[in-house]
Amino acid sequence: MWEYTDKVKEHFLEPRNAGELEDANAVGEVGSMACGDALKLSLKVDENGKVEDAKFQTFGCASAIASASALTEMLKGKTVEEAEKITNQDIADFLGGLPKEKMHCSVLGRQALEQALAQYKGEHVEEKEGEIVCECFGVTDLEIEKAIRENDLYTVEEVTNYTKAGGGCENCHDTIREIIAKVRAEEKPVTEPKLTNLQKIRMIEEVIDEEIRPSLKHDGGDVELIDVVENRVLVAKRGNCAVCQASEQTFKNLVEVKLQELVSPELVVEEVPQ
């Protein structure tokens, strides 16, 4: 049995806004019976571009029903611009979270919303763009790429949880791996903003406290931050580290590797005599 939050249970047992709007001017219909879940979202947008009313119809499990119910609640009273910004994560958050295997229920909500808003704005809605990667659930490469980018996914399992792709015969797992690698390769290396001296020292202290000291303490050792001069971090050994000959290299390496990884790659650690 899945672990659902009280909010999910509440929206499942008493769904809000179930049904179909007679006078809808924005309708999104996604999913299929073969896939195991489907959602029809109908919206009434007023002349000021505000969502006046929202209703849903869902075929699916408890979390699919709850996600759709939550989405209609979130949409009411929002402008089209605000509605466009609702992500699948927002839907999950509204419900206090969804089990990770059920995230695709929130993605279904997001997809229906996109389709409905595109229809409202008179945009031509492409039936299915891209090429089908997952034959079992009819998921395209573009949908997979989008889910990877929007939800920061790294593994095939995560892609399956969010899109269902790869959840059937598993023949497409290699292709999904390639798509993940492709999206990851596109990412530009993040340029860290330059730290002020004060920020730098605070971060160094934090890393020493949380990452370095506990592992030294494990062997009865310790470290003290003496000073920071530009990118030179001056430290002194304490406890067992101070008397342990073997710690010579490992001590400096441990501290330097951690600080370079978590604060800045330019840092150099120097040991000062006690």
């Binding site: 019976m33 195991g36 959602l39 869902t58 499990c61 408890a62 029903i65």
Partner: protein, 394 residues
């Protein structure tokens, strides 16, 4: 809220008599049955008694009973022992609707180079006997076919299938985990070489199983260790559970008639009433050759997990073959193998009863199900009442 338990194919309540028989062997008589002194030896005698009780239920000889830890261990042992004693043979015949204990093991073995043939079933879940016959070759080391299906209750003609294997010199194993205790079995009247059963499906505790191995069958142990079970399964005996299983088998023999009359009547009532009261519902599996306690019903245009959770609100326990409850994204492999359409497969519910169910419970469920299905159908974009009721009547 009282619990109404109709998921006895998943597991059963330990019978009071079984629990009482077991308790002394945890605290008072905790000796090791292999020990030389009376304190241990008396436990050994109780185990022998349990072996007799199990053998009696299935018409076997006591020395043909090997106690294991569960049905899955028994299945693994049976298939692996055949592969190691039938040297040079690398083919396994099984069905598309087996329990994962057999199905996943066979997939694993096929990745290791063994050839596996999965015999299909028809729309009613019956085995394709023609294909089965054709699949048996000189290279076949073992056939493993379940006696009755856990999801639909459909019974396979395993005795006939076993004879066909025997005629060709092929070992035959059956997973009878769902069958033992529900319908009469007599190993004297068939040529099945190995049979698996599991305690917790017949009111004994979890963690105890049996592999029946016909006398004279070559055997290579799966769990190698001590001399227990005549060297066929190492490991100190799970004494209390073995004694409990013995008691449970004795009770099952005594309750067999009730299972096939009163329980069957309750099952039939539940089924008939639900199918009559809920439009666009249908029975999965051939109705006549079926376990007396199992009913698998599909409700079109709704999803199984949602049905289960609404039933849970009334304390009703059952299970579903829908994707969301299977932990995967596809509906049960059994229903897919039977070609149950997607509109039906996602909304399938299995009710499985025991002698502890009452008529009041069944009436309560009959009363609640139509409302539950209607509630979910009113949410479903595919449900168009007018048209579909007519279509169902056609």
């Amino acid at each position: 809220m009282t619990t109404i338990y109709l998921d006895n194919n998943a597991t059963t309540q330990v019978a009071t008599e079984v629990l009482e028989a077991m308790l002394p062997y945890y605290h008072d008589f905790y000796g090791n049955p292999s020990s030389a002194y009376t304190f241990g030896g008396q436990v050994g005698r109780k185990i022998q008694e349990a072996r007799d009780q199990v053998a009696a239920l299935i018409g076997a000889m006591p020395e043909e009973i090997i106690f294991t830890s569960c049905g899955s261990e028994s299945d693994n042992t049976a298939i692996r022992t055949a592969l190691s004693t039938e040297t040079g043979k690398a083919h396994i015949v099984t069905s598309r609707v087996e329990h994962p204990a057999v199905k996943v093991l066979c997939t694993h073995l096929s990745n290791k180079g063994y050839r596996v043939t999965e015999i299909p079933v028809n729309r009613e879940g019956q085995l394709d006997m023609e294909q089965y016959k054709e699949s048996l070759t000189r290279d076949t080391a073992i056939v493993s076919l379940m006696w009755a299906n856990n999801e639909t209750g459909v019974v396979f003609p395993v005795e006939e299938a076993a004879q066909m294997a025997r005629d060709r010199g092929i070992l035959f194993h059956t997973d009878a985990v769902q069958t033992v205790g529900k319908i009469p079995i007599n190993m004297k009247n068939n040529t099945i070489d190995m049979l698996s059963l599991s305690g917790h499906k017949l009111h004994a505790p979890k963690g105890i199983g049996v592999l029946y191995v016909r006398k004279g069958t070559r055997f290579s142990p799966f769990l190698i260790g001590g001399h227990q079970e005549k060297g066929r399964r190492g490991g100190t005996e799970n004494t209390a559970s073995i004694i409990g299983l013995g008691k449970a088998c004795e009770l099952a023999a005594r309750n067999m008639e009730e299972e096939n009359t009163r329980v069957k009547h309750l099952r039939d009532k539940l089924e008939t009433e639900i199918l009559a009261r809920v439009p666009n519902s249908r029975l999965n599996g051939e109705p006549l050759n079926r376990l007396p306690n199992t009913s698998n019903i599909s409700f079109e245009f709704v999803e199984g997990e949602a049905i289960l959770l609404l039933m849970d609100e009334f304390g009703i326990c059952a299970s579903s073959g829908s994707a969301c409850t299977s932990g995967s994204l596809q509906p049960s492999h059994v229903l897919r193998a039977m070609g149950v359409p997607f509109t039906m497969a996602h909304g399938s519910i299995r009710f499985s009863m025991s002698i502890y169910n009452t008529e009041e419970e069944i009436d309560f469920i009959i009363d609640k199900i139509p409302t539950i299905i209607e509630k979910l159908r009113n949410l479903s974009p595919y449900w168009k009442p007018g048209e579909q009721v007519c279509a169902a009547g056609a």
